[in-house]
Assembly symmetry: C2
């Protein structure tokens, strides 16, 4: 994989040189992908990667059914948003716009840039349907009977196999299947906290985590977070040192909405800290499979030997949101989590667990993820290019290395809730920034999802959205 | 339906007369069902009902593949257990035997008289599988997409239609779909109580309710309960008057494990009381469809106009335990319940909701329930007959008018946990009585499920179980 990175970088550099030297001029058509493949003796995906790179740097553009062309607009560099600086209070209320955004999302015809899952077109519907038929036939009772409380044993075996490597071991006994990742987070929070406790989270952070924490009577401390490297470890250390939190909940890989990725050293240090202070870490790793580099990033869990990390994930963001299949490896809190699961819902849906088990076992999941990553990486680059082109000067945008969210910081005076209203009148749905904090901040920010197939309609939506930002 | 009741009673009386007058003698073969149908001009099911009645009174017995015969043993009347008299404390711990019973239930070859669901043989597997195929094809995205938080709109419409009649209206807007009935109870309890609150329940009561309450930090007040008419209304009135509880949770119809059925006047009075004291009532009505009389019993909700009743049910005990489809009509607490649902698990499994919606819409559910009720009623009578025959003198047994549980009270000195151990060595699994209380009582009681197809193996298991009770 490292070799590939090198190759597409090299191809991109050569073409960039030809453009800057005037060998290729504005409007010129680039060699077809087939020709690139032959010329450099590389695979189609490597050739595509090279073009994506160039596209992201606004050097070239793709025209549907025509190919790639040298771009008409000058190269424009988009700065990153700054490190967040949330307030120190633990109170605050969630903006009522959340329910508005939710309701509007289902509105027919609206372009859902506020979407929290990949669009259906990116999911392997037909293959999952075949799996459903197989599960119906293979399961005794066709899935009518209760599944084990801990979850389908095959599924736990397959998840364990999928995530076990030289750096972490995971066995079927370590895992509890849940009804999606939110259920895993809820069970974990209920297992390790009491009403009135405080938890530390990134900021901005997925509003669902804030809502869940509030409904469990937990106070929330939002921590400064870097758009690339995630939570500021020093800030986390401070609240731990002061004994201000009873648990941490971090999205270690491709945090929603920032897209930040904690470097291994940060993960290691965070695990060292929580071990030192004996504070459980709930690790929300549901975007970890959607990485754009050559390797799946590690989890905090893989650095832990204390059992204090409760590692949560699901297939909801990559495969089948409506199947409600997630899991948690709750470490030393397994009995507590299992009990909550039993008391609250006895067991998860039987048949969808079996389908996912089969999808993992046959290698279909790994195959699907390869395609999904390519698509989403290309989308991220196309969005970035379009934003550079259509959004006002001074727009800052995250550079996610995975996931399917962009975080934008607009000029100070922009109110993204007002922008939301204007955009909805044009049938474009965005997620205003202040949904992602209890501190009434990020008003000039917004989250855009690139989890949809790229097309002219999307490009047009981004163009129109850019014009609305005044 | 009323006419039928009369008919099978009349047929049963005539045959009883022939037996007591010696026209039919011990060991004589009774007329075949076909002949009864012709002689009285009734349907096969009416003829069967008459024979079930006689069987339950130990006047006749069925011999597999041979027909019905006048019984060899004298008629034996089984007394009812007394009204329960639980202690007044709210503390207490659950017997550790629960997890033992759970684990043993999965043991291969054990006869699961401790079962909490009808056996697979009583469920319409093939028809549900057809529904699954249909749902896969009809759903946009084949069920991969998130369902609405409130639940599948078709399913809510069908449930509303199924339960609406001249005595209660229910609309799709009143309902929130849940992941089975326990999830409905959990959401309801979280919506109307706070940690430290107390709730009033029947006694004995399903241990899952006790576990859930404890895990939510709720104190539990167990109320005296009549084996036929359910919770003692005066006792409930007393705790309400004293302001001792913040919510009530009652299984109004065919309580598990007692099988008690609250008469309409009791339901009406309970609703009047909770309205007077402004205390929410969570009504667990998941056995209501399994009635043995001519009509579905009413719910407490049908007497309420205040919105204080949160009515919970599911298809887990009648159709598809592993589908995890239940619902709650939360009355005035709808927003609170919806929020909990969203925060904890976003939505339920998409495809199984669609299957159940179709099953209701096409009338298949009503059809299936008719057959299930017959089978379970016949089973209840057969169990009662077998217990009368094989269990020691003095055994008391409930006379459920629905559901699929029998509650037995044995002689004072019997320890049902020790009995459980002895029975497991013979591969028979029972549910010891002290699982159903926090007050360390009902040690000489047990719950037996009759939710399995009747056969000689079952009869033999009851015979062996009877011998073990010394």
């Amino acid at each position: 994989m490292k070799a590939n990175t090198f190759l597409y970088d090299r191809i991109a550099s050569e073409i960039e040189q030809q453009i800057t030297q005037g060998v290729l001029r504005i409007g010129d058509r680039l060699p077809s992908l087939r020709i690139i493949c032959e010329r450099y003796d590389v695979s189609q995906s490597t050739a595509l990667q090279a073009y994506y790179q160039l596209e992201a740097r606004s050097l070239i553009e793709s025209r549907p059914r025509s190919g790639y062309f040298v771009h008409r607009s000058p190269k424009k560099h988009l700065p990153l948003p700054g490190v967040s600086a949330p307030g120190q209070t633990t109170g605050g209320a969630l903006h009522e716009v959340i329910s508005r955004v939710y309701q509007d999302m289902g509105r027919n015809g609206a372009i859902p840039l506020s979407l929290g899952v990949p669009a259906l077109e990116l999911l392997p519907v037909a293959k999952l349907n075949k799996g459903l038929l197989r599960a119906m036939r293979s399961l005794a009772g066709s899935g009518l009977e209760y599944e084990q409380v801990q979850g389908n044993a095959d599924l736990r075996r397959q998840v364990a196999r999928f995530y076990s490597n030289e750096r972490q071991t995971l066995t079927e006994e370590d895992l509890v299947i849940t009804s999606g990742c939110m259920d895993a987070l809820a069970m974990s929070l209920m297992a390790v906290t009491q009403r009135g406790d405080a938890i530390a989270v990134e900021s901005p952070v997925y509003f669902g985590i804030l809502q869940l924490a509030q409904s469990l009577g937990l106070r929330v401390i939002e921590l400064p977070t870097h758009p690339q490297t995630g939570v500021e470890v020093d800030a986390l250390k401070e609240v731990l040192t002061k004994g201000q939190v009873q648990a941490c909940l971090l999205v270690s890989n491709f945090n929603n909405p920032l897209g930040s990725l904690m470097p291994d050293e940060h993960k290691q240090e965070v695990v060292r800290l929580i071990q030192h202070y004996g504070v459980p870490l709930i690790e929300d790793d549901l975007y970890g499979e959607v990485y754009f580099s050559s390797e799946r990033p590690r989890s905090c869990r893989s650095f832990d030997d204390s059992g204090l990390v409760l590692w949560c994930s699901s297939v909801s963001k990559t495969l089948a949101p409506g199947y409600r299949v997630g899991w948690v490896a709750p470490g030393k809190f397994k009995e507590e989590v299992l009990r909550r699961k039993l008391y609250h819902s006895i067991a998860g849906t039987t048949i969808t667990q079996e389908v996912i088990a089969g999808f993992l076992e046959t290698g279909r999941y790994a195959h699907h993820l390869r395609g999904l990553r390519h698509t989403l990486q290309a989308n991220a680059l196309r969005y970035t290019r379009a934003i550079a082109e259509y959004f006002p000067e001074g727009t800052k945008v995250s550079q996610p290395q995975g996931g399917f969210m962009l975080w934008l910081e607009l000029a100070e005076q922009i109110d993204s809730v007002a922008l939301y209203e204007r955009a909805m009148r044009q049938n474009i749905s965005i997620a205003p920034g202040n949904m992602f904090s209890l501190q009434d901040q990020y008003r000039n920010c917004m989250r855009l999802s690139y989890g949809m197939p790229w097309n002219e309609k999307l490009e047009d939506a981004l163009r129109r959205l850019g014009k609305l930002i005044m």
